[in-house]
């Protein structure tokens, strides 16, 4: 029996409605996606596929649907970034140091999804410990972008760090996926693979059970085919969690309802500092088009200023490595993870286990972080960066006195080639120039696919909102989505014959 291949190309809301109408079963849907993933190993989107568990969960969902006990995400198959601890399923964080780690507990976000009835297809590829913008630092090798430039066979990166999740959604290997975003790791890969990515407000989703990178910046969020799907998923992911003291005590609204209603009278800010030298004309043109789309639907466009924008990336590259060097101190080869062999004492055990287990980018960041926190340098680097962070946040507070949402490009350009930026760390870091400010200020932001370059590659627009105002950016994102009519799909060159 062969199922229609179109089952795999359902979006989340379509699948939910079809399951509700009983025109498909979760088992059929899950089988189609298991097969799609198996046929698409060339993309290297998954680190671990969990087909048996998926089938088991789908069958349980079908029973619930039959008995009229369906929950909000009942029977909907998702892919999970390999940064979320999943009980009994290997969780690597894209690192050799965790290559054999099987968590004895479940992250709160994934538990919330399973409690809502979702089905797990597997764990997706990512930059090691979420440090990267191209998925190339993964110990499992790079995931590939389903998109290729017109008339080209060159492999492109899917962005990072949630590159596997982005590739899996864009390539129709799952209905939707979960990522994390510390400096742009949901929004940048979403933009360069033509999908929707949402980074919620810091504190909206629990960080419990997410392998920590930079704890004051990390947030989990949905990566989906539509804005509505992102709203649906966030409603289930978000919670107030006693296991994460930074999860904020604010009731979780129904974001799908908040998304409706249009944007008449919405004040949209255009931050002038986001016009950067050397940005491709296509990026600026799309940005102007986005503003015009919103205006045509009744929004008011206002120019605003975020004067400290250019300091955001260097600030991030002090704060994030500092927190990482501290968080990653736990990987010492003693209690879990990789342990070096043939060592003569405990210090050598630590030093060799870490040198063998961590890749080059992670080692670089641990050293930067250790340096900026070390005696004599703390004030010059770390303390100064934390003050800059206050100024960056203040910029946003002032801008939001004059507008309700900000519109910016999502990335400085489309997907780039595998290997193109690996030699120069700073050129890679610049990928996050439009996204990183948001993490430093703890704000929510949404990346929406809005057009293709002349070369046929996706570009996204970003909407930034006030803290805990995800509803407004989803509403504005829906307006962009409706106007852009981004219906493009990559050709499936990667599928096994």
């Amino acid at each position: 029996m062969s199922l229609p291949s179109s089952l795999a190309s359902f979006n989340l809301a379509e699948a939910r409605d079809a399951l509700k109408a009983k025109s498909i079963s979760s088992r059929e849907l899950t089988d189609a996606l298991i097969r799609a993933a198996a046929d698409s190993r060339g993309l290297n989107a998954f680190v671990t596929e969990t087909p048996e568990r998926a089938v088991e969960m789908a069958q349980a969902s079908d029973l619930r649907i039959k008995h009229g006990e369906a929950r909000v995400l009942e029977g909907l198959p998702l892919a999970i970034k390999d940064l979320f601890c999943t009980k009994g399923v290997r969780t690597t964080a894209g690192s050799k140091i965790l290559s054999n780690f099987v968590p004895p507990y479940e992250s709160t976000v994934t538990q919330n999804l399973w409690n809502a009835g979702a089905v797990m297809l597997g764990k997706t590829n990512m930059d090691e410990f979420a440090m990267g913008s191209s998925n190339e630092t993964s110990a499992a090798g790079p995931a590939l972008n389903p998109w290729r430039a017109k008339n080209s066979n060159a492999n492109l990166v899917p962005g990072g760090s949630s590159g596997g999740s982005a590739a899996a959604v864009a390539g129709d290997l799952c209905l939707a996926a979960i990522g994390t975003d510390t400096g742009g790791s949901i929004r940048q890969p979403a933009a360069v693979t033509g999908i929707v990515g949402l980074k919620p407000t810091y504190g909206r989703c629990s960080r419990f059970g997410i392998v920590a990178f930079a704890s004051s910046l990390d947030q989990a969020g949905p990566m989906t085919k539509t804005v509505r799907d992102a709203a649906m998923l966030l409603t289930s992911m978000a919670s107030v969690d006693p296991k994460d003291s930074t999860s904020v005590d604010i009731a979780v609204p129904d974001y799908e309802k908040q998304m409706a209603g249009g944007i008449k009278g919405l004040r949209v800010g255009i931050p002038r500092e986001y016009r950067i030298d050397g940005a491709p004309a296509e990026v600026s043109a799309l940005w102007e088009k986005g503003a015009a789309w919103l205006k045509a639907q009744g929004a008011e466009i206002v120019e605003v200023s975020l004067p400290h924008t250019k300091y955001a990336l260097p600030t991030y590259y002090i704060v994030a490595p500092a927190e990482a060097s501290s968080n990653l101190a736990r990987y010492d080869g003693v209690r879990f993870g990789h342990r070096a062999k043939g060592v003569s004492d405990i210090t050598e055990l630590y030093e060799n286990s870490r040198a063998e287990g961590f890749g080059a980018e992670v080692q670089r960041r641990i050293l930067i972080g250790t340096y900026v926190l070390s005696a004599g340098y703390y004030d010059a680097y770390y303390a100064r960066a934390q003050k800059l962070r206050t100024l960056i946040k203040r910029d946003f507070d002032q801008a939001f006195e004059r507008c309700d949402v900000l519109l910016t490009p999502a990335t400085p350009g489309p997907a780039f080639g595998v290997g193109e930026k690996t030699a120069d760390p700073v050129s890679m870091y610049l990928q996050d120039v439009f996204t990183v400010t948001v993490n430093l200020a703890g704000l929510p932001a949404l990346s929406v696919p809005a057009g293709l370059t002349a070369n046929g590659l996706p570009l996204g627009l970003q909407l930034i909102g006030k803290a805990f105002d995800e509803g407004t950016i989803l509403r504005a994102g829906k307006a962009i989505e409706d106007a852009a009519q981004f219906i493009h799909k990559p050709t499936d060159w990667w599928r096994a014959a």
Binding site: N100, F101, V102, P104, Y105, T201, Y202, G203, S216, S245, V248, H308, K310, Y311, P314, Y317, I318, S325, A329, D332, G333, V334, R335, F336, G337, R339, S344, D345, I346, E348, L349, Y350, E351, R354, A355, F358, R364, I366, L367, I368, T370, Y371, S374, Y381, A383, R384, A385, Q386, K387, L388, R389, T390, L391, K393, P425, V426, L440, A441, G442, A467
Partner: protein
């Protein structure tokens, strides 16, 4: 500010990360590339600006200091590279 080989050796030691002699020179170059770039933060006057402590205005929550979980030793030991009767085994630490 820039780092030299000795500094990299020193921070590698602090970070308990073995950096081989042949990796030292490239690492010095890579780190200096990044440190030169972050130098631009010195352009900004930060006197009187408070350091950020929390992005979201909230008081850290208090909770009762009581046991909420436990008896999970088996689960905790399952990932141990080397263990004996719920102890982690490491090379001799004290002579």
């Amino acid at each position: 500010m820039s780092v030299d080989k000795d500094t990299v050796r020193r921070i590698a030691k602090l970070a308990r990360l073995k950096v081989t002699e042949e990796r030292l020179d490239p690492m010095v170059a890579e780190l200096n590339g990044i440190f030169q770039w972050v130098e631009m933060l010195n352009e900004v006057k930060v006197e009187g600006v408070p350091a950020m402590t929390s992005v979201v205005a909230q008081k850290l929550k208090w909770r009762k200091d009581e046991v909420a979980d436990g008896d999970v030793a088996d689960g905790l030991m399952r990932n141990a590279p080397e263990s004996e009767e719920n102890f982690f085994v490491v090379p001799k630490v004290v002579e």
